[in-house]
Symmetry: C2
Subunit: 284 residues, 2 copies
């Protein structure tokens, strides 16, 4: 049981949004889908849920074509954009979700609305950026489909509400195992949540691996510029930065256990790894 | 030389947006203005720049009333909302800024637009959330007024662009010392940038202190629930959480150097401190 993209390509006018993307989201995992603005993340999710047609390639959900009723009933996309009619209220949108998704947990959704202080009688289009995100993530947490895809779920949310969302996501996943795909720019905050990371850049898959594997062999080594440079010579340095006289290089591979005097090492987190990788690619 | 708010109050219909707020932004510092959605941050900044009138209280900029020309010429607010006409292009907005702000650095703004890949001939209202933020932060980095106020400058920005913005902010501050106020929900990312932190909650100032002081005496202590509970009894615990059998309490004050076997301590970061403080207040 899985979502399988095979050789998906998509152009918009003169932009190649996706190029020969093959990718699998397996059952029962939390995925991070990471990439800069314009990388193709939303295009990929919109193709999966039939909001966009690919130019070539196929998508299957548990073996059924993604545009079949069987497939669509298993998916829920918490998209960036709100697709509800202009005058629809939050309450009515919950009613509608309950009609289309038989496992939608209406009373849980209402309890979440209370926790996030989202008024049920507000018009969806009148919500602020943060409350619009809250409305959409409540749907995603309550829908109970086998696959739930969150596209920028925390846009505009304050730190306390983001923290609450991450806790609820983990709780939901523990109580009702499903496949979750989280596409987000706040990488550091989801680094401990996502078991598997997919990094997409300019329409191509750059990395597709267990999150731990990606950063396991990455270290940042800092010290006086001269000492760092002579130590780093010949090693796999993927980015470097200088602040005052202090130089930091990020390297892949071992050999950092026994550093010369004056040098320090620390682990590279997922967000720092991502930024460094993008900078390395920019310079190719 | 400073921005001084004295006893500012403001209501919107049945909401008290600000209540008796007195606050000083001194010259030559980077401030963080932190608070949840609806706390009053944007109201405060909009009152300062004359976009809103307070019900009571005064604001002065270097001694002059905030709504005087002398004061307004010293301030630039990178607001959440874009106030430009519907069909204005990025290029034309830079021309306009150069007219109103004599120290606006036009060629620096254009070089930033290139770095962030913001097309100059695009209409401002046609920009995505992320590029709208980029447009506004470029204005803020190029305007060279003595006081620059950033309200949610990184909304919708990807991690690489956020990283670039923080680097540019520090560089600007080093080369052209001024007062910067950054209001943001991405607290962890600015924790090392902001020298002084103001926390606002439900229209009132909750904390106003050097950033380091706020978290210096805060520790998170974790271990088996029973051991943590008996150790923490009588201490100033401001939040606690349980994950599996592991309990974590955040405490203020010392006495964590010599923990019983089985307990571990780590420093509480600014974002974690902020969230814990909000939770503590919610429970009052």
């Amino acid at each position: 049981m899985a979502i399988e993209f095979q050789h998906i390509s998509k152009r918009f006018a003169d932009t190649r949004a996706l190029e020969d993307v093959s990718l699998t989201f397996e059952e029962g995992k939390i995925y991070g889908l990471l990439g800069n603005n314009g990388a193709g993340k939303s295009t990929l999710l919109n193709i999966l849920t039939g909001r966009l047609c690919p130019d070539s390639g196929t998508v299957a959900v548990d073996g059924a074509p993604a545009d079949s009723d069987a497939a669509l009933g298993k998916l829920f996309l918490v998209g960036e954009k709100n697709l509800y009619p202009d005058d629809m209220k939050v309450k009515r949108a919950l009613d509608t979700a309950a009609v289309f998704y038989p496992d939608f947990d209406r009373s849980y959704a209402e309890s979440l609305a209370k926790q996030f202080e989202l008024p049920l009688n507000k018009k969806i289009n009148g919500l602020s950026t943060g409350y619009g995100s809250i409305f959409r993530l409540i749907l995603g947490l309550s829908v109970n489909t086998p696959y739930v895809l969150f596209d920028e779920p925390v846009l505009g949310l304050d730190a306390q509400h983001r923290d609450l969302f991450y806790k609820l996501l983990v709780q939901k996943y523990a109580e009702h195992p499903c496949t979750m795909v989280v596409s987000t720019h706040l990488i550091a905050e989801v680094a401990d949540l996502i078991e598997h990371t997919v990094i997409i850049r300019k329409g191509r898959i750059l990395q597709d691996a267990p999150t731990e594997e990606l950063t396991a062999a990455c270290w940042a080594v800092s010290g006086p510029a001269g000492v760092v440079d002579s130590w780093a010579a010949g090693r796999d340095v993927f980015t470097s930065s200088v602040l005052g006289g202090l130089k930091t290089v990020c390297i892949r591979g071992g050999g950092t256990e026994d550093l010369p005097a004056g040098l320090e090492r620390r682990r590279v987190g997922l967000q720092e790894y991502f930024i460094s990788l993008m900078e390395e690619e920019d310079q190719r």
